[in-house]
Symmetry: C2
Subunit: 444 residues, 2 copies
Amino acid sequence: MPGEPTAPGPGSGGPHSSRLDPWIDQYAARTQGLAASQVRALFAVASRPEVVSLAGGMPYVAALPLEQLAEIAARVVKDRGNAALQYGSGQGDPCLREQILQVMAPAGIHARPDDVVVTAGSQLALDLVVRVFCDPGDVVLAEAPTYVTALSVFSSYQCDVVQVAMDSEGLVPQALREAIDLVRRQGKTIKLVYSIPSFHNPAGVTQGPARRAEILDVVRSAGLLLLEDDPYGLLGFDGSVPRAIRSDDSDGVLYLGTFSKTIASGLRVGWVVAPHGVREKLVLANETAMLCPSSYSQLTVSEYLATGAFFDQVKTFRELYRERRDALLESLTALMPPGTTWTEPAGGFYSWVTLPPGLDATAMLPRAVAALVAYVPGTGFFADGQGGGQLRLSYCFPDPERIREGVRRLAGVVEAELDLQDTFGDTLTNMRPFRPTGPTPDMV
Amino acid sequence: MPGEPTAPGPGSGGPHSSRLDPWIDQYAARTQGLAASQVRALFAVASRPEVVSLAGGMPYVAALPLEQLAEIAARVVKDRGNAALQYGSGQGDPCLREQILQVMAPAGIHARPDDVVVTAGSQLALDLVVRVFCDPGDVVLAEAPTYVTALSVFSSYQCDVVQVAMDSEGLVPQALREAIDLVRRQGKTIKLVYSIPSFHNPAGVTQGPARRAEILDVVRSAGLLLLEDDPYGLLGFDGSVPRAIRSDDSDGVLYLGTFSKTIASGLRVGWVVAPHGVREKLVLANETAMLCPSSYSQLTVSEYLATGAFFDQVKTFRELYRERRDALLESLTALMPPGTTWTEPAGGFYSWVTLPPGLDATAMLPRAVAALVAYVPGTGFFADGQGGGQLRLSYCFPDPERIREGVRRLAGVVEAELDLQDTFGDTLTNMRPFRPTGPTPDMV
């Protein structure tokens, strides 16, 4: 009541003071989008060493040249400590931004250092882009399925997410066109089209050149901004790098890149490439969020890039992940019961599995973890509870032998589910929708 | 118009396509709070070596044991690379959270590791707290003046900031009480009371124990949440550490801490201590913003803390900054024209200067930079254009000789302004309000 102090907090002695969280009535509306994952506890269990985790998108950092990186880290502190340990530019280190241009060159991107904003992982870039563009109720179009923590960001800024059908070449242009028309007929404002064109997370598919051109055409015709997320572009198993959509439109595409998958996720160094006006807003948003990205991490990356070892290391990763992808696909083919299907990724970290009809990947997860194998249930990649019969398998972290063992365990669990289904019908297995709006880092 | 696709972007060929920023109509309402600082260009000039910068709050990292830190950095990568280079917990490294309890112990804080959330600097903790609590139009109470980039955060989440009077002991309880009553009589919702009790930025004053108790009493009686920001608490020049307000209320106070001023700002490692329910929300918000804080930075801090050198290093910093504080105050006393006053900080980085009546610190800044000395004009620390006759001086970065030279130059500029005023009156000097909603990292 205006004019009279209200007392909602713990000092009030009022009706709320005995609640578990005395501040429960004080949160912002957006905080409702931050629900804890139902499977968080399960993933804590799944991180035990005896569990084969096909859940997390963790890069295999043990393949890095640790001795060399240790030397670089020491050099950064000893010789460049006054910069590495100090605040830096809110846009990121100028030299690193130059080097990032070289890292993007294989994807056909031409840009200037001033077009790049370095962020604490491309996750923060994604957060800042949505922060800068989206009011509550604005619509973001994204693939169905899409990256879990992108959904968390959209939700935390109270966006409506409309997910658009994919096929074996990713986002379907005609479906995108129809979704745009439908949303606009509803009187809603679309702010961003979010897409992962290369080695999609979680779908494991890649847009070909013609598909990319068509998607760009749809987006441009609608006057929309495309947010191209490209963490895996350098990790194509045939060694070729898909041409980024940003390469063909510097005004209408925001491009997200990261070193999390090609160097190390623990450094938290990513970036966004944006046209001038947008870039200015993103720098201000970056400064408001954390003043500046870590100089220590940035200079470590910069000195590593300066050694020239980056692209050779990417080749090492590519071969390592190809071998693991092969192990996954071979064992899926050999072991999974009929009726199970999966995508065959040409790069990146993930395959998207569809279970035999009637099975529920969320309901099955506790039994999988009990059988010492973990995956991410499909519903996590949708905003609306779809994906119950699907799951994501990551092959990036365990070695090929462990992957085969994991798939053997998973196949056993699926077979047991099918047996249950034969005996009792669908009722036992089709219970719990799953929506991890608060993902664990295990779920990148 | 609903039902008809609109085409606001660069693909439209519409009326906006020739604008500098074709996306200008697409930004979120909150993005209006992200205006670029008018003095940004000036600070770029001020970073030239011939300028004595009394503007930035940059810690003097050259006083760190760089050889030792270089060894630690190398060890973190070589011996703990699989953790340091990998994603980690969204709440922060558990061992570091234990160590943070020891760092907070001198301020009287008792907490459990689970109460701590590690963030990319306490700036991100501040951002996440506001994100979790504040809807557009919610009120945040803060000191007048207050930390520049806190104002940026409040503005970027569309909060109304109401600034409350300070005296030589900081925030005035009676003024706080009146502000709470007034805001509530206006029918508005107060979400946070933001305060920097120790060695205030920019005011350079400290709340005594009785003052803290009274402020806590006002906040608790009103049922409000106190956000206690404490970057400088360990840097008191008499060696004593003020008892944190959080030490006397674990349910109603959120406490922000950081290693930016006691180890190195370039690492971006800070934290927030929060009661259970709030802490859960902050972890989810942290994960949404950047998945997890940098493992590389966290383990570097953790290994450094494990050497036991931290509190000795803090003592070194304390003595170094005391010497610089003395240089500043002595030269202000010796050189500034009559009518100029300033605060005498007992710790931290800043003194708050009030110019003789009629002078405008913003209008004077270009002339100061031309005279090769820089400061931050007072209006930056207010949301409403107050502070025109005031400015902040930082003594943390230049050595005592440079500080004396800077004050000598500044005194000359102030004297020249007074001469101008004598000749022409106030009209020439009282022109431009200044509100740097987009601060440079120079302005922490």
